[in-house]
């Protein structure tokens, strides 16, 4: 059993994932080489913002089997090709002024450690890198981080009705959002991989 890191872009894997890869905590697989058999046999899957969603959605039945077997998926990006029943397409913010891009913790989660969401909302005084919209909350999912005055769920965790779990971040890869002065992208990535293995307990019912 392994946690697959689906490597979608051309070039090296993200720096934050070099450590987990070196420790054998993730198995790198190009998304073009992802197969139903690899998905079904995996303990967990981590995908990036560059995921080939058309290809990924082509594995819908294998993903359903993966979840039913207790698999965990850590997803980054905008869902535009829903690959599991219950997901809906990404909704961008209609207004993207500074106030619209503020973040609020709606529920604590071990993946975030002690990172304050306010510290991830702004980088060098500029907001918007964390995300600019949300993937709608599936029925029964728990919102973790809200964006804007309406606190729309930009991060959520979902215990799927037939088993398995999904963590969803509707923006750039979450490990790259570690604020300067925090425990850094490497520690963030380690917690994300730990969660995907099942080593960090989820908070969704």
């Amino acid at each position: 059993m392994s946690v697959l890191f689906v490597h979608s872009h051309y070039g090296p894997i993200p720096k934050a994932m070099v450590g987990p890869a070196g420790r054998g905590r993730i198995e790198i697989v190009r998304d073009t080489e992802l197969t139903d058999a690899k998905i079904i046999s995996a303990k967990g899957i981590v995908t990036t913002t560059h995921l080939d969603q058309i290809g990924f959605a082509g594995h819908k039945q294998a993903l359903a089997d993966f979840f039913a077997d207790g698999g965990r998926l850590f997803f980054n990006g905008h869902i535009l090709k829903p690959f599991v029943d219950g997901l809906q397409a990404y909704r961008p913010l209609q207004s993207r002024k500074l106030a619209d891009l503020q973040l609020a913790r709606l529920s604590p989660h071990p993946v975030f450690g002690d990172i304050d969401p306010a510290d991830m909302a702004v980088r060098k005084g500029v907001a918007g890198f964390y995300g600019r919209g949300h993937n709608p909350l599936p029925k029964g999912a728990r919102a973790l981080t809200g964006i804007g005055p309406l606190k729309e769920p930009i991060d959520w965790e979902w215990a799927l009705p037939n088993g398995g779990m999904m963590f969803c971040h509707a923006g750039n890869d979450l490990w790259s959002m570690a604020p300067e002065g925090s425990d850094g992208a490497g520690a963030f990535a380690t917690r994300i991989v730990d969660w995907t293995w099942g080593g960090l307990k989820g908070v969704a019912a």
């Binding site: 051309y10 913002t49 560059h50 080939d52 969603q53 600019r132």
Partner: protein
């Protein structure tokens, strides 16, 4: 005769290629892995959007070269390592300064090099200005349309390397428009895609 766009399937490709704003700009979409099965004689131009993984294009290098030599046009935007799958491209990458505009009065340095070109009836300098990932050394005889602060090409048309033409830029508008980030990238596509359409497709359409 029409435009074929490569569709690598990331969310920003889906948003830009399939979304209502630009979907009418492309006559057909094809996955990189299916390009080998397509009769390219049916198309005038092939568009390869930003951040198309190069290893998904390199298997088609010979087919693209043959398409160009038969008089076809290939358009490739940035961060797709086009030098690995198109002929005669010399590209240098650079560290990207995403923050240049925070300094009052700062100038990224992008300049329109040939203002009389028809593309610039649709685009202003500010529509090409967000950030830079690199530059080209254009071949002698190429038509350089825009340059960086050092005068190096970031957008040019090459009608000398092959029997057809290549329109190449280091700019990455598909990625940022598709991410709902950086309005200049949307303004760029609002001008660039209708110009492509007007130039290479039989039926011109206006952007939404």
């Amino acid at each position: 005769m029409s435009i074929l766009a490569i569709h690598p399937g990331a969310y920003y490709h889906i948003e830009t290629l399939e979304g209502a704003r630009y979907q009418g700009m492309f006559d057909a979409l094809v996955r990189p892995e299916e390009l080998g099965d397509v009769d390219l004689a049916a198309f005038d131009a092939i568009l390869v959007p930003c951040r198309t993984p190069a290893d998904r294009m390199t298997p088609h290098k010979a087919k693209l070269a043959a398409f160009l030599d038969a008089g076809g046009t290939v358009i490739a935007t940035g961060e797709s390592e086009s030098q690995l799958w198109l002929p005669g491209i010399s590209f240098s990458s650079q560290d990207t300064n995403f923050w240049w505009w925070l300094t009052p009065g700062a100038d990224l340095g992008v300049r329109i090099a040939k203002p009389e070109h028809p593309l610039f009836q649709r685009l202003e300098q500010r529509d090409l200005t967000w950030h830079l990932h690199g530059w080209f050394e254009a071949p002698e005889g190429a038509e350089v349309l825009a340059v960086n602060g050092a005068g190096k090409p970031i957008l040019y048309i090459d009608e000398v390397t092959t029997g057809g033409q290549m329109i190449l830029t280091t700019l990455d508008p598909f990625y940022h428009h598709g991410s709902h980030f950086m309005p200049a990238t949307t303004r760029f596509l609002d001008g660039f895609l209708p110009w492509i359409r007007e130039t290479f497709a039989a039926t011109a359409v206006e952007s939404a």
